[in-house]
């Protein structure tokens, strides 16, 4: 275990994930509940941070969505995402983070399909809703389960 960013966030979130895994019976359910938790946090985050001030009131283009994601990263995590891919998939935007804060130093074995950082999917989805964007966000890949980067897909309808 080496130096981590936001050790307090890590410890609290790690505790939340552990409890979530104990109280759910399968991985899909755990993913759903972590996303739901993220959505619950969305309104407080929107009220108590500068996200609303630093972004347009209504989002109409994919570029706007990408800018919103960058602002969310900056305000909440004080960093930039490694990549925002709007080209590979028409209808979706993929957000990647090679230095994901949520799952630093987390190594999980034998739980393929588990989205350790799904709480962030819920946060993104909730804030997008406030901006009038109906989207489904889920974690595609997680460093915690062995991927090179954490990747979230924002599926725009």
């Amino acid at each position: 275990m080496v130096k981590t960013e936001n050790p307090l966030l890590l410890t609290i979130y790690g505790n939340i994930v552990d409890k979530m895994l104990e109280s759910t019976s399968n991985i899909e359910e755990a993913n759903d509940q972590l996303r739901a938790l993220g959505q619950e946090l969305g309104s407080n985050l929107y009220l108590n941070t500068e996200i609303a001030d630093k972004t347009k009131d209504t989002i109409s283009t994919r570029e706007d969505v990408a800018k919103l994601v960058e602002v969310i990263f900056k305000v909440l995590l004080d960093k930039k995402p490694s990549d925002i891919d709007m080209d590979s998939a028409r209808g979706s935007i993929r957000v990647s983070d090679r230095d994901c804060v949520w799952c630093q130093e987390i190594n999980i074995e034998g739980m393929r399909g588990f989205g350790y950082c799904e709480i962030f999917s819920g946060i993104l989805q909730s804030i997008l809703e406030f901006k009038g964007v109906e989207a489904k966000v889920f974690q595609e890949l997680s460093k915690a389960t062995g991927a090179d980067a954490c990747v979230w897909t924002i599926r725009l309808d």
Partner: protein, 328 residues
Amino acid sequence: MSSDLERALSKLRFDDQVLGYSLMTKMGRPFVSFAFPDDLFPRVKDSINLYKTDLRLMTIDTDKGLVVLSPVDEYWILTVLYVPELQLGLAIAKTKNVLRLLEGIELPPPPDDFEESSESNLQVLETIAIKAASTSAEEAAMSPSVEAPAESTPVETTEKSPDDFLIQSDTIPKRGPNYSGALVLDSDLYNQMKSEHRNFGFDVLMLVDDKSDVAQLADSMFQPTERVTELLKWAASKEIVEVPIAEQVASESGVAKATVAKKGKFVKCPKFIGDQGKVTGDDWTVLGLCNGGQTSETIAEKIGVLHSVVIKTLAKYRKDIKMIGKTL
């Protein structure tokens, strides 16, 4: 359904060795495509028309790359274009993985009229699926009495149910008495497996070698351990494989288990990855047990010290400790 389909197709989209793909109708019309070269469509369509209902997985070597195409079900064909230098076996394996995911999704038949490779086609499919689901829900509501007799059929006392077995990530399934029977095409067991689990069951059983554990099987198939575990429990109930029975495990550990959890308890196990030579004797009493397979609480119990002593030792060597999260 469309998000499941999107997820299945995204396995191809994010694979560096995939140049493009197309989900096509059984007539060879592209429905949902991604970067699939237009000039390859006629060739694919020719192959599809050549074999018609006899179409199986086939490969076509083209100057643009290796094309692998396979029927998904009676309505759909998946076609993938891989980089030319990819080994044939790997291309086939990758395609089969996606086919397995697609098999788990109830794809409705394509509409009669659609724009080829249009972006909105996924949504079109979703609409058809929703309409089909609401029609079948009405039919199901009209015949509830049919369900009751089936459920009350008594289970044979000699046959165990899948829930009687306890399978975890490190369980090693062994081949059972009915193993070879299940692999014989058109045997009763094979047909039963095919109707309940399609080809997935066969693929898992082929990998059971009495040495690999569930996590290794799942990893080699790029499938979730839950899906493999579910199949193995079914196979165990038919004596195709042998795995620990829940009651046996309970009595060994001395803990009564009223129900078998679908996944084990999630815990974090410390693993020492540093140089043993730099560890003092006392500290090694703790670190020597840090193999990534037991929790710090278990280690404390084993050596008869307080949990805080173990934590203090781990903290001292924190740079050489990795915490592995797993389900036990």
